[in-house]
Amino acid sequence: MIDKKTHRLIRKEIYIVAVLFFGLFIAMIIYYCNYLENDSKDFIYNAYNSRFSVFSDDVVRGNIYTADGKVIAKTVYDKDDNEVRTYPDERLFCHAVGYVGQGMAGLEAQYSFDLLKSNIPLEDQINNNLSGNKSPGDSLYTTFDYDTQMAAFEGLGMFDGAVIAIEPDTGRIVAMVSKPDYDPNTISKYWDDITDSTKNKSSLLNRATLGAYPPGSTFKIVTTIAFLRANDGDDTFSYNCNGKYDVDDYTIHCSGNKKHGKEDLLKAFSNSCNSAYAYIGMELDRDKYIGTTEDLLFNKELPTLLESTKKSSFKIDSSTKDSIVAQTAIGQGNTTVSPLHMCMIASAIANDGVLMEPYLADKLVSADGQLVSQTEPVEYGQLVSKEESKLLQSYMAAVVEEGTAEKVDFGDELTVYGKTGTAEYTENKNITHSWFVGYAVDDNGNKLAIAVIMESAGYGSKYAAPLAAKVFEAYFQ
């Protein structure tokens, strides 16, 4: 007979192996919990997941509202008592809200799970169950302001392009329009036409978040920040503009070949002087320039609570030709941005440098009016320093007061800050995208940041800035 102690000693390896394997089981449990808590949403909302049809057996899909309580998506019954998803405002919210029918898109897809959940009291659910009725699903309240959205939609008119407006101190998106658009009510009927790639319209693409545009002169905001960072925040600068700037065998012209004469940085910015900014671009250390753009979220996933966004791209390196760098500094070159990204930069400048992550879904409310969940604003942190934002605010004010947007009527009650842009995108320099990026403040200190792009419209000051004025008016009235 072996005594207990020796027995334990000679067989302790059994428990070493036992603990090892039990550890693997624990690791598996941790992975499993993590999947359910964090990663499962990617899978649940995938278009290949056919399980939604099961939920809709018991629950009627909830409505979607604007922040001011207008229904923008609801479920009604046709004459055969079938459920039909309808969108009363047709095209107005199509890209943001999306559709149900040909698969799902937009908020309809992202919140499908929640819209098909019912949080009415349990006894009502049981009663509905027993009587064979469906329970009403929870409703989604978005951050949209109906009038602001309408102003942006109508202002864009027949032009292709995008408008996005964000509240700088919360990140709430109050308007988001993209054109060309589609009618979500009839998406199934016209699906083949809408997705016909030979027509090259890409109506389904939300240009506000997924567009990739040359930023044009609006990029001078970024170059200005790079200049300030290269000079420790000092904006002392002097340049004598004679209407053009030569680099390699390439000549950069000021808009309309205008000679701006002697300028400081504020003048160069408000005049949108291409020569001065091409010169600044050549003087900047390229690595630091790249560093600044990356601080400003270029080549990065944008920090938002939205489903999908497009990375903006800023591509120069030590081997890039000088002429390309000079063009890049004035927003041409190979740089691309999304309107959302430009709006986020304006929003951070308006908010003393602090960026709030943009979001669209405000809260979920059950059919009996109980709050189910509420999105809290998320602070990304300081995108630019407070001092930089103060300087840029004064520059952007000068654009509106005495610069390129001087002639635009923004109304008397608002103080407007901005930057216009006129972006070339083909070899033909006469066809240009019209940009306006900026924000407005009213007497009570309420702010709204905006980015407008109108494709092939012409000068930013002539098209995009007046549209921004209309959106501001609708929002602040």
């Binding site: 449990i29 499993y32 359910l36």
Partner: protein, 442 residues
């Protein structure tokens, strides 16, 4: 009405499984508990199993309006009683905690199969009884074999020959050769060779007690593994390899050899990855299943849709769409359980599997005969690896390998071999026969 019962049952089923699991976590310290406590806890566990079984089947009975469900429950209980009586006749001490776990898994299997394909559940029931009879016969034979380690070479040779037959003449399924048909029955030798393989390496170790044992068993194991690799059954090859590595470690207590063996196995894994295209596709399906969702990643994506959509509480029995998952009754049955009964039940199930592994190791620790101590340890490793490969593959913890979930997946071969495992573990103190000494008790 059916909806109310289904919704309500989500909570009751969850509570039964939760109580069972909590007791399980106490029971793994079975040898520190006194007999009365152990007995009370085991009884509560048995009650929970039966409640779970009938709750699940009742929901299905209401949902499908099929009285056969209740019959399934009754037959399962008859099987439980039969198994329990058989074990108590075979050995002095009945490890009730271990057997309760096996009963729980079998109940999960019956309920889930009845939910997925009712006719499969009926077949599964027949398999249970046939497997019980055959496994008891096997136990009788083991009990009368005089000094079983003397036949170790026969185990090795028979095992290797069978594996080679499968490798060259077997039927190809999912890129691997696993089985061959004998009439209506599909025979999958690797399930049984797992056991003969353990008998072989344990026999070598107890016969020689020195380097010779190590060398002979290593060579033998290598041949087994190569035969499996030839059949492209890499999941099973991995199970054999792991069992060999850890049985050697328990026998020789050598950390250096352990780390060397793990190193060699890793290199082997990398080579296998480079030489077998079907492993590479499984890796892609593992790292980013959604990128190949309509092709190689279809199965794992469907599994993850099911688990994710079911959420923590599950959709309720018969309310989900588990039949969307390919081979859900075999490899992916865990996803069906997680979808309909909820991830908390899934989590409990993983814990119960972990506890079962510890309980088998407890059996090994207390075994008074070194041959069966090694066999039992090997069984624990086999059981653990098989469970981890299956559940891990279903939840995307590791690439999927196509092994079944012990006691729950549909399939006669694995059910029979698992039942033999549990009987050997239960009776490991009463199995060894040496005609020179009678039954050895040292």
């Amino acid at each position: 009405m059916v909806n109310v019962i289904t919704s309500f049952s989500r909570i009751t089923i969850l509570s039964f499984v939760l109580i069972f699991t909590i007791i399980d976590l106490i029971q793994i310290f079975e040898y520190k508990l006194n007999e009365a406590v152990y007995s009370v806890l085991s009884t509560i566990q048995s009650v929970m199993v039966v409640l779970f079984l009938f709750n699940g089947l009742y929901v299905l009975f209401m949902a499908k309006d099929d009285p056969g469900m209740i019959m399934l429950g009754i037959f399962t209980c008859v099987f439980f009683v039969g198994f329990y009586v058989a074990v108590s006749k075979l050995c002095d001490f009945v490890p009730r905690a271990l057997i309760n776990n096996m009963f729980l898994f079998i109940s999960f299997g019956i309920v889930t199969l009845a939910r997925l394909k009712t006719e499969l559940a009926a077949k599964h029931m027949i398999i249970l009884f046939v497997a019980l009879v055959i496994s008891l016969l096997v136990m009788m034979v083991l009990k009368i074999i005089d000094r079983i380690e003397r036949y170790m070479y026969i185990f090795a040779v028979v095992g290797i020959i069978l594996l080679l037959i499968v490798a060259f003449f077997g039927k190809v399924e999912n890129g691997a050769k696993l089985s061959f048909a004998a009439g209506p029955i599909r025979f999958q030798p690797s399930e049984f060779i797992k056991l003969s393989f353990l008998f072989f390496i344990s026999g070598c170790i107890v016969t020689y007690k020195d380097m010779r044992g190590f060398l002979i068993s290593s060579v033998g194991s290598a041949i087994h593994v190569i035969a499996l690799v030839l059949a492209r059954d890499l999941g099973t090859a991995l199970i054999f390899l792991t069992a060999y590595v850890f049985v050697m470690f328990i026998a020789y207590k050598n950390y250096i050899v352990l780390s060397l063996e793990i190193g060699v196995a890793t290199i082997g894994g990398i080579l296998a990855y480079n030489y077998f295209p079907h492993i590479q596709t499984r890796f892609i399906a593992w790292t980013d299943p959604l990128s190949v969702v309509d092709d190689k990643g279809y199965q794992i994506s469907q599994s993850l849709f099911a688990i994710g959509t079911g959420g923590w509480l599950g959709s309720g029995l018969n309310k989900g769409m588990p039949n969307k998952i390919p081979v859900v009754t075999m490899d992916f049955i865990f996803a069906a359980i997680s979808e309909e009964m909820g991830a908390i039940v899934g989590l409990c199930l993983i814990l119960c599997f972990g506890c079962t592994v510890i309980l088998i190791f407890n059996g090994a620790f207390n075994c008074n005969n070194s041959f069966y101590m090694l066999v039992t340890s090997g069984i624990a490793v086999l059981f653990a690896v098989q469970t981890i490969l299956n559940i891990g593959g279903v939840i995307k913890f590791i690439p999927s390998t196509g092994v079944t979930l012990p006691f729950i997946s549909y399939g006669g071969n694995s059910m029979l071999s698992l039942m033999i495992y549990i009987l050997i573990v239960s009776c490991c103190n009463n199995l060894y026969f040496d005609s020179r000494q009678g039954r050895r008790h040292d």
